[in-house]
């Protein structure tokens, strides 16, 4: 049923339809609405049987999830940002143990400076942990991906992280076609663990593995993700068959058929990008978009195929590897190497900075002119940066940059207000 609903609520209700048996909660913005809603459903008896556990940290949340999953329960939790980093040791552990936990990551920047707004730094920090990472473009997709995530995780015994942009999606109220319980039940079979803690058939889970087998263990994990490259589209197709809705998959292309410039991005910014692309198309540019849903495993072949005809590839992403550049851009560049296409890395929307259609249009125009640099920071306040650089050069005790910048920007803002 189509409902006008907050993204968090849509995800929470969809997760509940997946009949999780253990859910752990630790509050951190912007995922709190999800976990609050699941908790309420458990308390109200709408989701049963389910153990809802208020833990003392994200580290505990993932740890409880590990125990529950190893004991054979379908397990769910959600986190964001610092929370993900606080649980990172357990995040790796869950993947290493092959436990099919599903976690929502309400993407948010990582401090310092502390920042509660959206970007993808958190997801990128656990890129190599062994979790499957799926990025949702809309709240509809966010909801749908959770159903697919449980099936994928449990088929492969790999944990799955559904990434949805914090606030931008989690707090947005928009139309979501909510699934029926019977549809979910038909799509998602009961969890049949590959290994389980059973007193009647005891095994030791979590052995110490030395050099003689560690590489093989890791390679097997890699192979499971390679299997996922097959299973993700298959599951999306199966999902489409029962819901009539195309959600998930490895990636989705938009107006790329004849495009010589293709923008590549993850998550909700794709909508704004599409609007900008439409406008540039109207202006006669051959521009398209590829939205990547499955960031890990990274669909090399599908990406290469989707980008094969483009000469210019602009990777816009809400994260970057300090000291190098875009993270997604690096992956894309590696995939298309050897072709004639050039990859441009655009870092945008860090710490919640709005990525506006206007800026994107300008970016595309710049690209069309051939002025785009290989690494661009969208809407960067160069003047503020320069002032801080100067200050740092002039005095040793220049103070903290974040506070200095805030002071500068605030002054500027106040000045502009006076003008208006």
């Amino acid at each position: 049923m189509l409902r006008q609903i907050e993204g968090s609520r849509a995800v929470a209700e969809t997760v509940a339809l997946c009949r999780p048996e253990v859910v752990c909660a630790y509050p951190i913005s912007p995922q709190t609405h999800i976990i609050e809603a699941v908790g309420a459903m458990v308390k109200e008896g709408l989701l049963s049987p389910c153990e809802f556990i208020n833990v003392e940290s994200e580290f505990a949340a993932m740890s409880v999830s590990i125990g529950a999953s190893a004991a054979g329960a379908r397990t769910y939790t959600a986190t964001a940002s610092q929370g993900l980093l606080f649980m990172i040791e357990a995040v790796y552990n869950a993947a290493g143990l092959g436990l099919p936990i599903v976690m929502t990551l309400a993407n948010r920047a990582i401090g310092a400076p502390i920042n509660i707004w959206n970007d993808h730094s958190d997801a990128m920090a656990v890129r190599d942990s062994g979790w499957i990472q799926l990025f949702a473009e809309t709240n509809q997709e966010a909801a749908d991906l959770h159903v697919q995530a449980f099936r994928l995780a449990e088929e492969l015994s790999v944990p799955v992280m559904v990434c949805m942009d914090g606030f931008i999606l989690t707090h947005a109220v928009e139309g979501v076609d909510m699934l029926e319980q019977s549809v979910v039940d038909g799509f998602l079979p009961p969890y049949e663990p590959r290994q389980v803690l059973d007193p009647d058939d005891p095994v030791s889970i979590g052995a110490m593995v030395g050099p003689e087998a560690f590489e093989e263990v890791r390679y097997l994990a890699h192979l499971r993700q390679m299997d996922a490259l097959v299973r993700i589209p298959a599951i999306a197709k199966a999902f489409e068959e029962v819901t009539g809705r195309a959600s998930g998959g490895l990636l989705r292309s938009y107006r790329t058929e004849d495009a010589d410039t293709i923008v590549v991005a993850l998550g909700s910014v794709l909508g704004t990008i599409k609007d900008a692309v439409d406008i540039r198309r109207d202006a006669g540019e051959r521009v398209g978009v590829v939205g990547i849903t499955s960031f890990r495993p990274f669909p090399r072949e599908a990406v290469r195929e989707a980008l094969s005809k483009a000469s210019r590839i602009i990777v816009i992403e809400k994260a970057f590897s300090i000291g190098f550049g875009g993270v997604l851009a690096t992956d894309v560049a590696l995939v298309v190497q050897g072709s004639n296409s050039k990859v441009f890395s655009v870092v945008a929307g860090l710490g919640g900075r709005a990525i506006t259609r206007r800026s994107l249009e300008d970016l595309l125009a710049q690209s069309a002119r051939g002025d785009l640099k290989s690494l661009t920071f969208l809407d960067l306040d160069g003047a503020a940066v320069d002032r801080e650089r100067t200050r740092m050069a002039n005095t040793r005790r220049s103070g903290p940059s974040a506070e200095n910048l805030l002071r500068d920007v605030g002054t500027e803002h106040a000045a502009s207000k006076v003008k208006s």
Partner: protein
């Protein structure tokens, strides 16, 4: 709960077995069909106290749960020496995740068992002192506070032995470790630091807290049994001497654990809902020197420049324990757990 003493049955109340007792009055360890939760072939040091403590506790828990037990293990010696690929020494369902998260993982297992309708399956989490009082403390406190249905057992060997004997918050004053060397005016670990986890556990008001040593098997098994009768968060703190870390002879493990209790340095008691309900009285009061001299980690107190002043301070700690818990009783030559009035 008091244990019936076995007076005058040749070996009295302390030996592992007693052919003169009825089967049900014998220890789990005396039973040829005991679980051997942790089996031969493990790579613990000669004379390891921790593996003994683990087998004692888990075999008792296995009996108490009719074999329906899952154990969660923190990283540490016990984990490393028991499960190096491709062999495990565990005969029970066992899970290792991380160093600091055993209580939370156990919470998860217990929740899963409950939601799966397997209420008969009981969950034990175990860790060394580092995994308990230091890195695992946050998760442990959370597990206590939620009163999750987990028995947490700390095998306290008073330091990070797995990593080569470093100080933990359970390392006693004056003890030498790799990070509390015997230099300076106060050699070894400093006085006035450290966590008394049993008391912290009691402050959580959980239903059951107890301490024990590997030297009194009957007491240890009885406490496990009592703990297993209760649902909710339970804490058992077992002193397990470490020949490597303490610099003691491998055959002295049990003897040293016994002296830790008999000196008063390690009070053995049990508490329910935050109140001490019983103590194991000191049977043969022993000066701390006798305990300390068996361990090279205290050798600097007795060497060419002996430090009787430091020994005296350690004796003070023992005396304070004795006073706090009432460890000297009228029949202190008769170490039966005695109820105390709180």
């Amino acid at each position: 709960m008091t244990r019936q003493p076995v007076r005058f049955y040749q070996v009295g109340s302390f030996a592992v077995g007693n052919r003169l007792l009825d089967d049900e009055d014998r220890t789990v360890q005396s039973n040829p069909n005991r679980t051997n939760s942790i089996d031969s072939g493990h790579r613990a040091c000669q004379g390891c106290g921790e593996v003994l403590g683990a087998r004692y506790a888990l075999d008792a828990a296995m009996r108490a749960s009719n074999g329906q037990l899952v154990a969660v293990n923190a990283t540490g010696c016990l984990e490393v020496f028991s499960t190096p690929y491709p062999e495990t020494s565990w005969r029970i369902a066992w899970l290792h995740s991380l160093f600091g998260n055993a209580p939370a993982v156990a919470t998860g297992v217990a929740a899963a068992m409950r939601v799966k309708g397997k209420s008969e399956v009981r969950v034990v989490a175990q860790a060394g002192d580092g995994g308990t009082v230091d890195i695992g403390f946050g998760c442990l406190s959370g597990m206590f506070e939620r009163n999750d249905d987990v028995l947490f057992i700390c095998y306290d060997n008073q330091g990070y032995m797995n990593t080569g004997v470093q100080r933990s918050a359970a390392t006693p004053p004056a003890a030498r470790t790799a990070t509390t060397v015997t230099a300076g005016p106060e050699p070894g670990n400093v006085f006035g630091q450290g966590k008394d986890l049993p008391r912290i556990a009691m402050a959580h008001d959980i239903p059951y807290v107890a301490t024990a040593t590997v030297a009194d098997l009957h007491d240890l098994e009885q406490k496990v049994e009592r703990a297993m009768e209760i649902h909710g968060a339970r804490y058992l703190h077992v002193l397990v001497p470490c020949p490597l870390g303490w610099g003691s002879a491998s055959n002295e493990t049990i003897h040293i654990a016994r002296l830790a209790k008999e000196t008063g340095l390690f009070p053995v008691f049990e508490a329910e809902h935050g109140t001490v309900t019983a103590v194991s009285p000191i049977r043969r009061r022993t000066p701390v020197e006798e305990y300390l001299k068996l361990q090279r980690r205290y050798a600097h107190l007795f060497g060419q420049t002996p430090r009787p002043d430091i020994v005296a301070r350690l004796q003070e700690i023992a005396d304070e324990n004795i006073a706090r818990y009432g460890l000297i009783t009228n029949d202190s030559e008769d170490s039966v757990s005695t109820g105390v009035t709180a």
